[in-house]
């Protein structure tokens, strides 16, 4: 009964536009919606559900995941930008958002102006693989080969503007090579042509590629993080194998509409940190090739600013654009 009464009361308060800012200790007083601007079943959706599950447990209110894909994440993101900044609508975001800042200058929001950073969630490394038919034993040989045959080598990606494409463009920019980009719709299609040897090179998630590398169907030249991965421990990072400074991971984070009270942001950040520190979560994510990423809201903001600037540079060099 009290649940209903509270719901009605809250509804009335919301309907008339008032919300007391001193509500951080009561937060959340009703269900919280995490909008995922990507398709159901994608990594952002799956990880959001894990985080949402544990947040529901900890904060005693349901955290509902709502997938609103479309227009390269713009539809769902815009919906959050337009929501009330009360902590009851959150955005699950990824590096798609930081690259879109320069790929899509005309979208109806600016990430750092319309949102406040809450907390990062996790990151996953990529691996660069080549087909065994490509005559290169290691990364240095591959770079030399690519330089000797400009435009002749090809690399597959899961579509323009995706982190996999951007990782490739970053590689080309840093090594000054010209490798032809062959876009696919989704990484499964691309992987198929990679295994068949129809394309030469590809960046993809470490976990999905590991079995093919172990079976000798593909050769791993390097991983894209700052440290080697647990799954493919004997594969060097691209930075150590010949391109110092190279780093391109996929990561996820949570943001809230601009104007969300700081106490609520801090409370969410603390609770998310507690979820990320759970050993069962860490272990489960390690199997999926992801590691928790823990930062304060201020640190996350600095991280986002740096990421946006980095990809703006890559986009400028490569000339890639969307829209």
């Amino acid at each position: 009964m009290s649940y209903w009464a509270r719901g009605v009361a809250l509804g009335a308060v919301l309907a008339f536009g008032g919300f007391s800012p001193a509500a951080a200790q009561d937060y959340p007083a009703k269900s919280v919606k995490i909008i995922v601007p990507f398709s159901a079943g994608g990594p952002a959706d799956v990880y959001a559900r894990v985080v949402g599950n544990y947040l529901s447990e900890a904060l005693k209110q349901p955290f509902i995941i709502e997938d609103r894909p479309g227009a390269g994440s713009v539809i769902g993101t815009e919906a959050v930008a337009k929501s009330a900044p009360d902590g009851y609508t959150l955005l699950m975001m990824s590096n798609t958002h930081t690259t879109n800042e320069s790929l899509m200058p005309n979208k109806p929001f600016k990430l750092m102006d319309d949102f406040v950073p809450v907390a990062p969630v996790n990151y996953s490394d990529l691996v660069m693989v080549i087909h065994p038919s490509v005559p290169a034993k290691d990364l240095k040989e591959f770079i030399a080969l690519a330089k000797s045959k400009p435009k002749e080598l090809t690399y597959a990606s899961s579509g323009p503007g995706t982190p996999y494409h951007m990782a490739g463009e970053l590689f080309k920019a840093m090594t000054q090579t010209d490798i032809t980009h062959v876009p696919y719709k989704g990484s499964a299609d691309a992987r198929n042509d990679m295994l068949g040897g129809h394309v030469n090179m590809m960046f993809d998630a470490v976990t999905t590629m590991a079995p093919n590398v172990e079976a000798g169907q593909l050769k791993a030249l390097g991983t894209t993080g700052d440290k080697r991965t647990a799954v493919l421990g004997n594969v060097p990072t691209i930075a150590e194998a010949g391109v110092p400074g190279y780093s391109a991971t996929i990561w996820l984070g949570i943001m809230a509409p601009k104007g969300t009270p700081q106490p609520i942001v801090d409370k969410l950040n603390a609770e998310i940190r507690r979820v990320l520190e759970r050993p069962d979560v860490t272990e489960m994510w390690a199997k999926q090739g992801a590691a928790p990423l823990i930062m304060t809201p201020a640190e996350f903001k600095a991280y986002l600013d740096k990421d946006i600037a980095k990809w703006a540079e890559v986009v400028k060099i490569s000339g890639a654009k969307v829209q």
């Binding site: 079943g41 079995p211 829209q323």
Partner: protein
């Protein structure tokens, strides 16, 4: 052979445990439910259930998810037959004769034969996977973009056979479908195409929106009109289930459909989509009375349904042996596996034999369960469609709206159904057929993608389509088919001229 029996025994040992059976049953039940409901598909449901599967052992989790997947295929045929709404690309063909049978009072026979042919196809496909699945997937890797492009060209030929009426109008509809498939961001440059500023279609038009509009809603309006303009006699109830003569007529189509669908399902990149279309085209070509097709021919339900289910089954192979998920549902299953630390790939058969053979065995068990779940439901569906139409159709409208909304939680997509519904109504009035449009829509996207990928790889050399042997063969076959189908009509035209 002895190997295969030992393997299957291992598999059944895993799949026949009480827990596995219950999970399989649960999956099939949920799958049937979401398959029957229009709009919402297995992807959203499986995504939602993923956290639930954390607590279950990996084999059990996969058995349940697989149950949802083929349960949804079964359920989808039910909606295609009773409401003319194809939930998936693969049930488009089932609407052609299946819904026609239902309006002739043979809904029970159509539903029954759909269930039986799916079961038979599932059984054969399971044995097929057990016997020679693994080596065959290596063949699939030979298919590069150029070969895939030519396969799509070949596939477009099916639309010509699909047509009930004018050939020219059918081909015009194929191109309309291709035009619709180009809507959305460009694969290579990311530019927005034909979106007219509508953000909701930047990722392309949702298949369910088109299918529900031009099939489902056009059919609702047609039925309302018929009720007004003429006294509609309630069709006789008819038999509840197929009889021996039905089964006899269907046995050939089922076997051929299983073979066609099973083979196409092996091709990565969702070759299974083509299965039902190919089977329908084959049966219509082979039939002594092709004119019956499109007017309630049971072969037109049996063959494609068998192809559909066989393809759904064999498309697990690229996933389990190469680690490549052929569609979004399978991609989710990869997610479910990795949560448990199992990554599907080339070594799964040798490293995880219990998982692999347990899944294969559970496929057959799942098919048996679906037969058991679905045959008794036939009576329920028939009672449902005999409800007064003035109540039935508003309920269908409501469930379509909720279903479409649930796909992307998008209100705009619901509005788009109305637009495509109106479009479908105009097509109906002008006697254009929707099936070739849907085929064009599905194949058009792949056609362009593969064409452009081929040329990027070959650096602009168009010879790539003839220098690859599979591609060249397929293109030659297409050319032969065109000549064969044109010759009789040329003759006919000549005769006509002479008669006049």
């Amino acid at each position: 052979m002895a190997d295969m029996i030992a393997n299957l025994a291992l598999g059944f040992g895993v799949a026949l445990s009480l827990k596995a059976l219950m999970l399989c049953f649960l999956g099939c039940l949920i799958g049937t439910l979401i398959g029957v409901l229009p709009g919402i598909g297995p992807v959203a449901t499986i995504a939602m259930l993923l956290p639930v599967t954390f607590g279950i052992d990996p084999v059990g989790a996969l058995i349940m998810l697989a149950g949802i997947y083929y349960g949804a295929q079964y359920g989808g045929s039910t909606t295609a037959i009773i409401a003319n709404i194809p939930g998936e690309v693969t049930s488009v063909v089932t609407t052609l004769d299946g819904h026609r049978m239902a309006s002739q009072g043979r809904a029970g026979v159509a539903l029954g034969i759909a269930a039986i042919s799916s079961f038979v196809a599932g059984t054969i496909a399971t044995l097929f996977i057990a016997a020679l699945g693994a080596p065959l997937t290596r063949f699939a890797l030979l298919f590069g973009p150029a070969d895939y492009f030519s396969l799509m060209v070949f596939g477009l030929m099916f639309a010509v056979v699909l047509a009930r009426g004018s050939l020219a109008k059918a081909v015009a509809m194929i191109f309309t479908g291709i035009l619709f498939s180009t809507v959305g961001t460009d694969l290579e440059t990311g530019q927005a195409r034909l979106t007219f500023g509508v953000a909701e279609i930047y990722d392309g038009i949702e298949f369910a929106v088109i299918a529900m509009g031009i099939f489902g809603f056009a059919e609702i309006l047609r039925t309302i009109e018929q009720r007004e303009t003429r006294v509609v006699q309630d069709a006789p109830i008819g038999r509840l289930l197929p009889d021996l003569s039905d089964l006899k007529m269907s046995s050939g189509p089922i076997l051929r459909g299983t073979f066609i669908g099973g083979f196409l399902g092996l091709l990565p990149g969702n070759g299974a989509l083509l299965g039902p279309f190919a089977s329908y085209a084959t049966e219509k070509r082979l039939s002594k009375e092709p004119a019956r097709f499109g007017h309630g021919a049971i072969e037109g339900v049996a063959g494609p349904e068998a192809a559909n289910n066989a393809g759904a089954q064999t498309s697990f192979l690229p996933l389990l042996t190469l680690g490549i998920p052929p569609n979004a549902v399978m991609a989710l299953m990869v997610g479910a596996m990795t949560i448990h630390g199992i990554v599907p790939g080339p070594q799964i058969v040798s490293k995880q034999p219990a998982l692999f053979w347990g899944m294969v065995a559970s496929m057959w068990i799942g098919n048996l369960m679906l037969l058991v779940i679905n045959l008794p439901l036939v009576g329920l569906w028939i009672r449902l469609i005999r409800a007064p139409y003035r109540l039935l159709f508003p309920a269908i409208v409501l469930f379509c709206c909720i279903g479409i909304y649930s796909i992307d939680n998008s209100a705009a997509e619901v509005g788009m159904v109305a637009i495509f519904g109106f479009f479908g109504y105009v097509l109906m009035k002008l006697e254009f057929e929707p099936a070739p449009l849907v085929l064009g829509f599905v194949l058009g996207r792949l056609l362009e993608e593969k064409f452009r990928q081929s040329l990027l790889i070959s650096r602009g050399a168009l010879e790539t389509f003839v220098s690859h042997s599979i591609s060249a063969t397929l293109l030659a076959l297409t050319a032969i088919l065109i000549v064969i189908s044109l010759v009789p009509s040329i003759n006919k035209a000549r005769n006509k001229v002479f008669v006049e």
